[in-house]
Symmetry: C2
Subunit: 252 residues, 2 copies
């Protein structure tokens, strides 16, 4: 099936309309996605949001967070009270982001690996971020405070670190509507560099769903909204939720 | 000037032809780039390749490198003997990548920051890579072995880590022809996920130079050449080499 996913992405522009092979199983239960799918609606029921009790949640305030970061976090937490927004936890083990009931064999045990944006133990030096999901708007925002270990140009975040936080945010948004997904395309226009230690808002939303393809867009702005740091488009491909990526690659 | 750079990138497609304001100072000395520039030819004279004697060079073999990585490294080192290729050192402090004679005020002292792809101290867990430059072909290759702390999907490199190594490789290539540069656009098609611990070859080259714009392309392949993991295009904007990015942002 992985080959199918690859084919879907290959050579297709952002606005291309795709004809899906009806024989290929596909996740479903979400408007715009194919029916008859192995992907559990748990992915978008939000039941998985507080599933990992044994692991540290890195998306909670710590002493490295600036006042700007704290204020923005508090504002979104306030908007969670009526259920409009949901706080998304974040872990250092990739598998902890997968609902327990949907874990595959290779996700059930620790492998000594680390989820890339959470691979530094010292608070404040790397990716400090917290995400909030607005299910009805299919929108995910990420409050991001890049630390001094993410440097590109002196004093500014590396383009790769900006790409990483964008990929993670749009990816989280795509997971909500489509379950297991894989980045197929990421296109970023860098407008203004992000100063290390500042706080920016990464704001992403699902623009369109065509079969197994999820199109998203994203803007990265300063918290006063005056500076556009980056804008991006992304295409994610829905995967078969019952097979590991390794199996899907192997079956090519 | 930063505003000029931003304007250059804004709204222009990859093949757009740019009319530069002749009053804006620009780096030069390289075919295709504007003359009368403040950028020193040192950037492309390769004199800076071994300039930092005081810092650890992270682009040298260590015990975490696999046999595949060592073999590929040896092959490129062999091709350096006749001067066709040049090995590029790599440091944990961003400023160590800048020639001593071109360092700006904020690059002359340690800031406690870390160059993003070199921010992990334990060998083998993060970005293990070495770059080689072919000056006559305006081509930069990067041998990349992603470690277990770069995980996205279980067992595979995070899309952001792939974006990071691509940005760094095409960026290094752009620096060679244009001196100080800034990523303006990065567009990546992800074809096949990169297994953690495998070795891939990131191969980038300058396709076109239009005034202050440098267009590049990049392919990420398995070392046997059989698997295309990703392909990308990038646009970099040449900066004023005599001012820090902070100054160029502030003068907007």
């Amino acid at each position: 099936m992985w080959r199918n996913c690859i084919r879907l992405a290959r050579g297709l522009g952002q606005s291309a309309v795709l004809r899906l092979d009806p024989k290929v199983p596909c996740c479903g239960g979400v408007r715009g996605l194919n029916p008859g799918a192995p992907c559990s609606p748990l992915w978008n029921s939000l039941a998985w949001l507080s599933q990992s009790k044994r692991s540290k949640d890195y998306a909670l305030p710590n002493s490295s967070w600036s006042q700007d970061m704290m204020d923005l976090y508090s504002r979104f937490l306030e908007m969670c009270k009526d259920g409009t927004w949901k706080r998304i936890p974040s872990y250092s083990d990739t598998a902890d982001h997968v609902p327990e009931s949907l874990k595959l064999a290779n996700e059930k045990e620790r492998k000594g690996t680390r989820f890339f944006p959470r691979n530094l133990d010292t608070e404040g030096v790397g990716f400090e971020y917290a995400m909030f999901l607005n299910p009805s708007e299919k929108r995910m925002v990420c409050l991001f405070q890049p630390g001094p270990y993410l440097e590109g140009h002196r004093g500014f975040a590396h383009g790769g670190s900006t790409a990483t936080i964008i990929d993670s945010t749009v990816g989280g948004c795509a997971i909500f509507v489509a379950g297991r997904v894989m980045t197929a395309n990421l296109s970023i226009n860098y407008r203004n560099p992000i100063p290390l230690g500042s706080v920016v808002l990464v704001d992403s939303k699902v623009d369109q769903i065509e079969g197994r393809k999820v199109f998203l867009s994203c803007h990265v702005r300063s918290i006063d909204g005056q500076t556009l740091h980056a804008e991006a488009t992304a295409l994610f491909i829905q995967l078969n939720s019952t097979k590991s990526l390794q199996q899907q690659v192997s079956s090519q």
